[in-house]
Every structure is written in C-alpha cells, then in structure tokens.
C-alpha cells in the first residue's frame, strides 16, 4: 500500500449496522463467515480491523481464523481501496488478446503496481482472472461496469467517466 492510503483515518465503524449484517442477515452463523466478510467489504470497500475484531467476538471465532479466511480468498482486502476499483482481466482469453498490455499501460499511467491505490484515492488497480465475458476480450471492469474489447488508446476516455 502506498503512504497516502495508510495515512487516511480509518472509517468510523457503525456497529449497529454490523449487527444487522451478522445477526439479521446471516444469523450469527460461522458457516456464513465468507458472506459476512463480503458484506462488510461491500460496505467499507475493505475489511477494517475493528470490524473483524467485533465479528470475532460476535460469532466466537478466534481472530486467527478470521484472518486466515480473509487472506486466503483473493477478493478480500485488509487495506482501504480507492473510490473506483479497476479490475483488469488477465484470464486466458483476455491474455491472448492483449490483456497484459492494458494492465501495463494502466500501471504506467498511474505509476502504481497491481493491487495499489493512487495517491488521490481515485483508483485502485487490480487484476482478476476471468469475469466471464471472455468473448469480448480484453475486458476491464470498473466498479460494476464492464468495458469490452478495450484498446490501449481508448483507456483515457473510459477513465474520465470516473471521479
């Protein structure tokens, strides 16, 4: 993570809301751990430590196990991410159609590497392995929007849509 992102004050955690997620939606069940973490990440854009500590006591699971799960699965991030998440597909179909070139271009544009966030918190650059739109490769996803058949020279125009 770069320094600017580290210095940002952490989000205030809304414990009432956490209760709704953990109890009401997922019935305090340890089996639902992965989906609870997904819901927390959806809310905060990453998994804030205080939220995990709270979750650990609520469902009586050692913190080590929660960390184990949070670090095993690649969708989870323990660090704050940018306002917009760019996911560049590096799946096989996109790879043979030049996905890596798109990724490289973005790294150069922002001067960050995979997984990092720009200093102004506008973008986080991530790579993913296939988002299921292989026929339209190379594909990038920005937040929930899919952009298909990307060419490197079209990137700036696409990115301009995201503040």
């Amino acid at each position: 993570m770069n320094e600017a992102a580290m210095m940002e004050t952490p989000d205030a955690i809304d414990y009432m809301e956490l209760d709704t997620i953990i109890e009401t939606e997922y019935g305090l069940s340890r089996e639902n751990l992965i989906m609870i973490l997904q819901a927390i990440q959806k809310r905060y854009n990453y998994l804030p430590k205080p939220a995990l500590t709270y979750l650990a006591t609520k469902i009586s699971l050692p913190m080590s196990q929660i960390y184990g799960v949070a670090t095993f699965y690649s969708t989870f991030s323990l660090e704050p991410r940018g306002r917009n998440i760019i996911s560049v597909c590096l799946g096989t179909a996109c790879h043979v159609r030049g996905g890596a070139k798109i990724h490289e271009k973005l790294e150069n544009m922002f001067q960050i590497t995979d997984g990092q966030t720009t200093a102004d918190h506008r973008f986080t650059l991530e790579s993913v392995r296939c988002i299921g739109c292989c026929s339209l490769g190379p594909v990038i996803k920005i937040n929930e929007d899919m952009h298909s058949r990307i060419q490197t020279d079209a990137l700036e125009k696409i990115l301009a849509q995201y503040e």
């Binding site: 751990l33 989906m35 096989t92 179909a93 159609r97």
Partner: protein, 635 residues
C-alpha cells in the same frame, strides 16, 4: 398459486407459450446476459423502453445469451403473424429504428443489421407442439439462423432455453416444458428409476473430471445421513463461461436438475456455490428460487407430496482451488478452502461430514432433458464413451467467439473452422487450449480428433469444463505455459510440497526462459518437476498443473529451443527476445505506424519506406497490429 399436478402446470404453460411464441403485438427479446450488457444491451433496452413507453402492443423482454457473443448486442423481434428476425450489434443508437422497421414490415432497409430469421424456435423438448412459425412466410433473401455455419452443427440441450425466455419469469420456463420432467418424476417414478435413467444415459460430469453422474448418484444414495445436493458454479477456468451463461439465461434448468437429483438420491437441502465474480448469475438465481417457492416447486411438501427441498446460495470469494470438491465443501462451511485427501469420498462424508452429491451446472441442466426424452435419445448423440452434447466457450483468436453446444465426437477442426469461422486477419492457427490450467495445448496435427473425454486425454489435454482458447501464430507457447504456471502458483493452496514448490520452481525457470536467461537442461528439468508433481500432489490442482507445460514442450519444443539457444521469441511476445523491423520492400510509406507510435520511434518520408529507431521502441506492438501491408517484421 401452488402447483399440485401436471395439469396445473400445463394450464400455465399454454398461456405463456402464446406470449413467447405468438404474442399479440410484437415481442422484443434483448440478450441481457453479462456479455450482452457489456456490449451495450442495457442502454439499448432503456432506449427502447423510453421510445415505446405506454405502447401496450410492444413487449420488451430481457433474455439470456444465445451464444453468438461476437455479434452482441443481439435483439430478436417476433409477432404472431410475422417472421422472427434476429438483429446483430444493435446498440442504443439503432434499436428504435430497427423496431420501427420491423413494425412497418420493412426487412430491406436494415438488412445489414440482420443476422438471420428463425425457422423453428421450439426447444428439442417440445416436439409435440406445432412449430409456431410453420404458417408464416419467411422473408426472401434473409438466411435462416439454423442454416448458418455457426448454428447448423449445434444441438442445444443444456442451453435449450438460453435466449428464448426471460430468465426472471418462471412462467416462461414453464412455457418451454420446464418442471414437467420433475413433476413426472415426483409423481410417477421411484428414486431407483431416476438413478437408472441417468445411469443409462451415460451422462458424465461436465465440470471437468467426466465422472459418470448416475454412478455418483447411486453411491451417494447408499450412504445414510442428511444428504446434500450441491451445485458447483465456481467456474474457475479463466476463459470459460458456459456455466455463467446457463445460470444467467436459464437458472430454472439447474434448479430442476437439482430437484430431480434430490428425488433420486433422497435429499431435502441443496446448495449452489457460485463464484463471486458472477453477480448477475446470483441475482437471477435468487429470483428463480423465490419464484419456484411461490409456485410450491421448492419448499415443504412439494406438489402435495411428502417431498421437501430447499436451495441456498453461497458465494465464493475468488479462489480457483475452491472448485475442487473437498475445498468447495470446506468453503461452504465458511472455512479456508483447502482440499483434503479423498480416502473417504464426499459422496460419503462431504459437506458437514454428511453424504454430499456435487455436480456441475451444465450436468444438472442436462438432467431434465434426459428425464423427458429418455436415456436412448441421449445416447444417440455422442461417441461410445462420451454421450450427449457439450457446451464450449470458443474464445481467443477466432472469428466467431461465443458459446457453442455440439454433440460429442465432432472434430476440433469443425468447431474451430466451421462453427468458429477460423482465425481472424488471415493469420495461421497454432494451437487450441482445452481444459484451462489443468489442460493442454493441442496442435494442428490433431485437429481431426473427435472431441470426447478419452480422445482429448490421449493427446495430453483434457476436455475440462469446456474452455476452448484458440491461438494463432502471434501466441508464444512458452509465454502461455508461463502464464498458466503463474496463475496456478497464485491459486495453489500451498499445503503440499510438490504443488507449492514445484510451481514456484517451474515459474522461475519459465520466466528465465522468457527473459532470455534460459539454460541448457531447463526443458529436461521442467519435465522432471512436472512428472514429480503429477505423481505426488494431493489434489487435482497439483496433479494436473504441469499439463500446460508438458504438452507445450511435447508439441512446441522448437519454440522452447529458440528461446533458450537462439535467444529468440518467434511469436514476438517475450520482449527481450525480439525486435520489430520494417520490411522496406513491403512498406508503402503510408505513415500510419509513425502516427500511431506512442514513442515517436517510427520515421520516414511519405511514400518511402519507414524505419524504427530501436533505442526508442518499447515493443508495444501498435505498429505491428496497425500495418495493413504486413510490412512490420518480428526479428
């Protein structure tokens, strides 16, 4: 309303069959699977809705993907008394015009946007109803969809409803004979008969392993306890999206398949494990389950019997290894997805230590069709040991990218060149990769091989879940092997040595080769590590991980040698091992490359041969892709 009998179901079916085949006014089907949406279908749908708001004679519907992703957004228009026309690449700027043209009966003005007209929209389950288009005169001069090379060799079983119905309306699934197979099985068959039918059909798992489904069901049914029916929708193979398409386009076919499995095996609880990257599939499944419940097809005492069945959805969180059965079940329990040794199989002790039957999405989607049409019908398609059809995602360097469902036994050449339309830009076919990270690369010499579980295994690859990635002369096989090893190194769960360390070492060697630091003996070392991993890894990820490396060495050893001995990458992919030069004889001096080069590395006078300043060139390849005269050479 709760459905109690086949008669109840048939009554609803008749009403909705009219809506999907012969609506009053017109009906517009817009392909709204993820791929359609990415190509602009959502904007087109919104525009159409705006333009025709308040017009009750125009129904605008979302449907799934019919497979021809290359031509998306696809828009189909039909009416009770008019031909059924499929339009291609209809973005928001064209849609209103196209609809107005159709309303006016004008099929000439927009002819270039027409993909074709349909001959017969029925699914192969509906042979007892009459073809709704039988009495309608086709438009002259417009090809039939069914006769186009992309479609003519296809037989849609698992994908029978994708693109024909609105996946968010269970009634449209009913209209195409949905849930008839389940209700018949519920009312008329005993569990033994269900399992026997599936056994006799020869259906083999579509998730990659090809294990006979009927035998799996029978074994699971033998073990006592709370049995679970689980659907594997993790679809981890990067480059494959058949399961996504089925879930987004026809979720009820999977639910119905699971219901039939539950009847046969004896289970009251199902789970669908969907990968997190498929939010639309999850959304459609949630809707589908709700609707099935409201008709009493899921829940307690289904159709007035003592059979009860519920389905929960669980999402993965981005781990390829969680597609493996034991890891998937650990993940369902909220744990880290690490495979375990299978001394005890999951059909005996799986999820929650109970007997669990795991099948792939496509496997389940085939089940209702088999139950309705019978095992003999199913075995009439395919080869001796691989029956029925298989869906492939045909992607990479191929003209007609998309999903194709073909009978087993068709040759790779037919799939790639007939259905797929060959390689774009007149480039040369090099290899096709099947089976994803667990599979291998199949070169030109085997293109006449029939596609079947055993035949593909004979040449070192596997059928896999159905990813088929076509590669041309511009793909470097060493780089591709490096790509898969890099993928697998990230995805290995790391608990056993052969897989964890083997992949790490393989990656190091392959990276060295791609950077020009390959040494004599590297190829042999890769082979040795590969053989060790195949023998000693704990789960399927590790044992199959060397396949992409070993098959590429087997069939493309010369490329490895060029990298190691001559320090050259013949495909022009590994940057330290090639440079671009302009062939002065072929160059017309049009100046396109000089304009496009981001580094200003190309110079030359107009109409005279240009040249590249190697000091400035970053080998981005823009000139190579852009030259219309093939004047840029890889050296």
């Amino acid at each position: 309303m709760k459905i109690q009998s086949l008669e109840d179901l048939n009554a609803i079916r008749r009403t909705y069959a009219k809506q999907i085949y012969a609506p009053e006014g017109i009906r517009i089907n817009i392909g709204m699977a993820s791929c359609g949406i990415a190509a602009g279908a959502r904007a087109a749908l919104n525009r159409a809705q705006e333009a025709f708001r308040g017009n009750a004679t125009i129904q605008i519907r979302q449907t799934g993907c019919i497979g021809f992703c290359e031509q998306e957004p696809l828009v189909e228009i039909l009416a009770a008394d008019k031909p059924r026309i499929m339009y291609k690449k209809i973005q928001e700027d064209k849609i209103v015009e196209v609809i107005e043209g159709y309303l006016a009966g004008d099929f000439k003005t927009h002819k270039k946007w027409i993909l074709g007209q349909m001959k017969d929209p029925r699914s192969l389950l509906e042979d007892e109803i009459e073809n709704p288009l039988a009495a309608i005169r086709p438009v002259d001069g417009i090809p039939f969809m069914e006769e186009a090379p992309f479609y003519s060799a296809q037989i849609k079983v698992a994908m029978r409803n994708c693109g024909y119905i609105d996946p968010d309306r269970i009634e449209e699934y009913f209209a195409r004979k949905g849930y008839v197979a389940f209700l018949q099985a519920l009312k008329k068959n005993n569990p033994q008969e269900i399992i026997e039918t599936i056994k006799a059909s020869g259906l083999r798992g579509r998730g990659g392993g090809g294990f006979p489904t009927g035998i799996k069901w029978a074994t699971c049914a033998k073990h006592h306890g709370n049995r679970y029916i689980i659907c594997n929708a993790d679809e981890g193979d990067p480059g494959a999206y058949m399961d996504r398409s089925v879930l987004e386009g026809d979720p009820h076919s999977v639910i119905e398949g699971m219901l039939i499995a539950a009847l046969g095996i004896g289970s009251s609880q199902g789970y669908i494990y969907v990968r997190n990257e498929y939010p639309l599939a999850v959304k459609r499944l949630v809707t589908a389950i709700k609707q099935a419940k409201s008709y009493g097809l899921l829940g307690e005492n289904i159709a007035g019997t003592d059979f009860s069945f519920n389905i929960n959805i669980s999402t993965g969180a981005g781990a390829f290894v969680c597609g493996e059965s034991t890891a998937l079940m650990a993940s369902l329990e909220g744990k880290v997805g690490r495979p375990r040794a299978k001394y005890v199989h999951t059909v005996e002790k799986g999820f929650r230590e109970s007997p669990s039957n795991l099948n792939n999405v496509e496997t389940y989607a085939n089940v209702p069709a088999i139950m309705l049409k019978g095992a003999d019908w199913y075995t009439s398609m395919g080869t001796a040991r691989s029956k029925g059809t298989k869906v492939f995602s045909l992607v990479g360097k191929i003209n007609n990218t998309g999903l194709v469902e073909v009978p087993m036994g068709i040759s790779l050449r037919d799939i790639i060149f007939k259905i797929g339309g060959g390689i774009p830009k007149k480039k040369k076919f090099k290899a096709v990769q099947t089976g994803g990270p667990s599979g291998g690369c199949i070169p030109e010499q085997f293109l006449d091989l029939p596609v079947d579980f055993d035949e593909l295994a004979k040449v070192g690859s596997i059928m896999g879940s159905g990813g088929m990635i076509v590669m041309d002369q511009d793909t470097c096989m060493v780089d591709l092997a490096r790509y898969f090893v890099d993928f697998l190194k990230d995805e290995s769960c790391g608990q056993c040595n052969p897989c964890r360390e083997g992949l790490k070492q393989m990656l190091k060697i392959l990276t060295d080769i791609c950077q020009g630091n390959g040494k004599e003996g590297d190829i042999e070392l890769l082979e040795e590590i590969g053989a060790m991993m195949q023998k000693f890894s704990l789960c399927g990820l590790g044992t199959s991980a060397p396949n992409p490396v070993l098959t590429s060495i087997l069939y493309f050893r010369d490329e490895y040698e060029a990298h190691i001995q001559d320090k050259k990458c013949p495909a022009g992919v590994c940057k330290p091992l090639f440079h671009y030069e302009i062939d002065a004889d072929a160059c017309t001096g049009c100046g396109v490359c000089a304009k496009k080069c981001p580094q200003g590395a190309v110079s030359g006078e107009k109409k005279k041969a240009h040249s590249i300043d190697q000091g400035k060139c970053i080998k981005c390849g823009i000139c190579y892709e852009g030259c219309k005269f093939d004047a840029i050479r890889i050296c």
